[in-house]
Symmetry: D2
Subunit: 344 residues, 4 copies
């Protein structure tokens, strides 16, 4: 089969022919229909310092995907050939105290497909049956393929109540954009979205943000004060990983408010813990992955109920063989979510 692979340590990715994965008794083989490109894939492509420390080539990339089951291991129950599925790409160990107490998403021994083991940028991918997620008939492949980042957005947005509250979303990449829609549909009384890119802010508006702010030329702090009677927002969702945005999240939340951090900064960040965290009595939560599988039920529920349409965030579709141009568009900041399609 063909796969998009990091062949060796260094920048770039290659389209290669590799054997179809062989499945174990608890696994299924999936014919991939569509796969989303994540910022993580771009880091691996560019071979930045994080990638150099984590990735062990050769590695097939890709952790956001959907497809059809074509083969089932002998011990798999509850699935059949032809089932349309996406999957949780975090492979937890299943036996540690975290896994045994409902916190598998932060299992210390977790492996991630497309990062630690071969992933889904390929014509076929294998997954443990425990990680599968059935897709409703009405859901298009391209939406099924991005359940992973949709789930990141749900996990972050649902980490504290938003109904009746003001929500600031910093960073309008795909996850931040999804979060705009989720917060709006969940009763947030004011959704303020911030980014440095006007095209993304336009999508934020479509997704439901009441107010959008381009921090490169507008005063976010002043706007938050005006919108919140000087108190600050109830909830800040940090989706960018940019240190200045992290600092804003902490400084613009009201006393007693909630800050969820999803975006990953490069290196340590200088934080005014006394002024911004302790004196204000706020709560800061690190958010990783998706709750297994509470988050997935939320994604399904919102999609079924028509509470969220993620498609405005998908700005580009491309055959998987054109991955290189897609990655360039992503790196250039020209794209929202890009979905690769595979021949069926």
């Amino acid at each position: 089969m063909r796969a998009i692979r990091k062949n060796e340590a260094g920048p770039g990715l290659s389209l290669v022919d590799v054997p179809v994965p062989r499945i174990g008794p608890d696994e299924v083989l999936i014919r991939v229909a569509a796969a989303g490109i994540c910022g993580t894939d771009a880091h691996i492509y560019q071979w930045d310092s994080w990638a150099q420390g984590r990735i062990r080539p050769p590695l097939v990339l890709g952790h956001e995907f959907a497809g059809r089951i074509v083969e089932l291991g002998s011990a798999v129950r509850g699935y059949a050939k032809g089932d349309r599925v996406s999957a949780e790409g975090h492979l937890a160990c299943g036996v540690c105290p975290l896994c045994r107490t409902g916190q598998a998403h932060i299992c210390p021994s977790m492996k991630i497909i497309g990062v630690d083991v071969d992933g889904a940028f390929a014509e076929f991918a294998k997954m443990p049956a425990s990680n599968l997620w059935k897709i409703d008939d009405g859901i298009p492949d391209e939406v099924a393929a991005i359940h992973d980042p949709l789930g990141n957005a749900f996990h972050t947005t649902m980490a504290a109540p938003v109904a009746g509250r003001t929500v600031l979303i910093l960073g309008c990449g795909p996850i931040g954009l999804f979060a705009c829609g989720i917060a709006r549909a969940s009763g947030a009384v004011r959704v303020i979205a911030s980014d440095l890119n006007d095209a993304r802010l336009q999508i934020a508006r479509k997704m439901g943000a009441h107010v959008v702010v381009n921090g490169s030329r507008e005063d976010l702090a002043g706007l938050v004060r005006r919108e919140t009677e000087g108190l600050g927002v109830d909830v800040a969702l940090e989706m960018s990983g940019a240190p200045p945005a992290i600092v804003q999240a902490l400084s613009l939340v009201r006393n007693g408010g909630d800050v969820q951090l999803l975006g990953l900064p490069n290196g340590a960040v200088l934080v005014n813990l006394a002024e911004d965290v302790i004196f204000k009595g706020i709560t800061v939560r690190g958010i990783l992955g998706r709750r297994m599988y509470d988050t997935w039920y939320q994604v399904r529920g919102f999609l079924r109920a028509g509470l969220l349409d993620p498609q405005p965030v998908i700005t580009h579709r491309a055959p998987f063989t054109e991955f290189e141009r897609a990655l360039q568009d992503l790196i250039a900041g020209k794209a929202g979510k890009i979905v690769l399609t595979f021949p069926q």
Copy 2:
């Protein structure tokens, strides 16, 4: 001034002339503009067993209202003559352990205006400044007047998460109807409303219920099973106080689900605690009044954001002098919320 008063033990209410209330240093005098009629008022009017046990005539009725401040006590700060206000009608003691730990709404020494002390079915009413709630300019008097039952609905609906969850609302009186709208606006993926009255169910639909069920001729249990893949609803809000509905709330919620009880049954209720509560591991919460004042901020937030329009629930308006016909309509089940208006 004129007031609607229970003059003596027994059925009925009278329109009487009484002195304008005199305010203390921490109180304000309010010229009442509009007042909502509550089921409680009907109980007092009819002089049922609850009323006989609780009410000590003479008593001016009315606990849902709005108006303008016309006089301020010497110690009142933060308000001015002419301010439009509604108010929390539960007068908590302020010094008991409940009051001192954020649970004033269940203060054991609480007195309620219109029930324990003179209320707001009068041209003027007095209130402690601590209980006042300023009303935004754009809010009509009739909506301002029903912040109390709106708050009941918020308190009940917000007692457990509803975003991404299925919600069953039993009883479509005004509070149940408001709850339909609140749950829908807060991300409930399925709002099922149940009542025995088709007119109310039509309003439930307007307020946002996805599905309405007339229990007198439809099989609610079967419908819940179909809508929830046999599991039961995530959340049940019991707003009727009818024992069969309470039993349904408990039996139709899924294992691990949440049942909020607001409706007040007459007398004890036979509950299958083993089957419906313990084996299922559910959580049942009694809900009284409104959180002081978290709930009020939620009401304001939803109204400001346009997330909820309570006006479809207001089916009748009448000059306060026509209170008797209004009460008859309420008792006959012909009305949603009835708002009495006062000359300004």
Copy 3:
């Protein structure tokens, strides 16, 4: 092997010879060292109405036990022959929404060993590896054997905070007695234990209850008022299943307090929902089994730290062949926890 079995519908139990269980790839075979007798076993022995509705003979009883692994299925990882283990006896389906969201203890398809499938009152028992729990070296077999009811007590006591709060425990069977010790060790400022049996109340005192009350001749309500300045207790743990105790739990908890119901009443219970639940704004939780496996970590932690000594609750030990006399003692109310021992 020998096993204690319900051979056919009707009262009684028999000591029979049956084949040693055969294990599947995900299972282990355990040589049972000790097993606790639960009230449930007595119900099955007596063949009461609940047993008649649930039990399908032939059935080997027993769900509280410990022993050594003697055989491992081919897919089992993380365990070895000779490991001392107890096990969670609730066999959840693993694939339903409850199981996939951390609520496996209330899986609607759950089967219980010794109730729905053959159990551990036998020389050998098989268990899925996922349900095993390793036992520290220092823990005696008889304590290892009662991790199941210990876990019930932790699950109930930990369902709401007890540190700094007053706790009423109704029913001093083994689970209630364990709860006395857990609440005391967890910072409860006052543990009040109630029962009708003085011998049990003496053990309650040993386990840490500050005050014990024999409801057959003392006024529990008056005592609670005196101990709580008239407010009621912060937390009530109902461990008896007796309807009068359930009613007391609800009426003696303070406004805003927490009631956990673990004891299973026979039939429906008349509850003053308006007075005792709604007006008081309390929270009532049904408690079943043990959180998988949060509760088990709590049991281990308390035992390791020496925070709880469950041995005073074990009043009787007997060879498993003397099960009949043990059951008679239990039914006569003469015993705390009875542990059966098996030849090694």
Copy 4:
């Protein structure tokens, strides 16, 4: 009366004669019996950069104290002359959204006695009646006088569950030392206390720490790994404000754990948000003051129940006139808590 006052901008404090405070209708006058010295007082004495930015002399210092009511304002109810009281020294505005929703301890307009307005290092102090806290007869003055820092310790320790969990306490000043005792009494299975001062660590042991670590010569990280099977602690309480300790709190808590930050660092701190917060999915809470008045009830409850004896932490007592030597001892790190006594 005599008072310890900062007379003018600059280092030092003076014993001066000032008028006895005049009380308003909602206030009481208290004859001070004892007062604790806080690190904050030392900062003001030394006139560090924080003090220069916040303090506006002249100012009577002191916010930890107890005494007897000697005069009551006309509107005060529920107190009488001679009542022994301590008081919450945070004066919240009472009308902002934070104050009206149970979060008065982080009121943005809060003033603190001894910091923003005259405090309690004086023979008499005035307090609003709303902030008073009655002291049980059996409680010695020196314990009554330190309810404020005791409350800080309760607020921090109770911010997440500790029963059944491992707790790391960084910094064994008085608040950290109290926290050792509170955590131990609340069911923590392992309390690890860390400091650089052996004398303090000895007190930590007396207060209930299972393990104490002098970070200047022992490997805290290694010890935590050994004590927690490599996972990290469940809860870390940062009580020192030292940046290296803050970094340790974040790095030594397990995935999904809780970090409470109470100690105030000078200036911004470099935090590895990606590695230590986001990838680990932890929750970080800023803690300020005491919950009004939930925390105070916890203090009372633990003292009444004998769950905590704070007296080992009080290493020095001195007549208030010897404040200068006391402050020098505090600054030199020779003391735990120092209590000043006043003539009665």
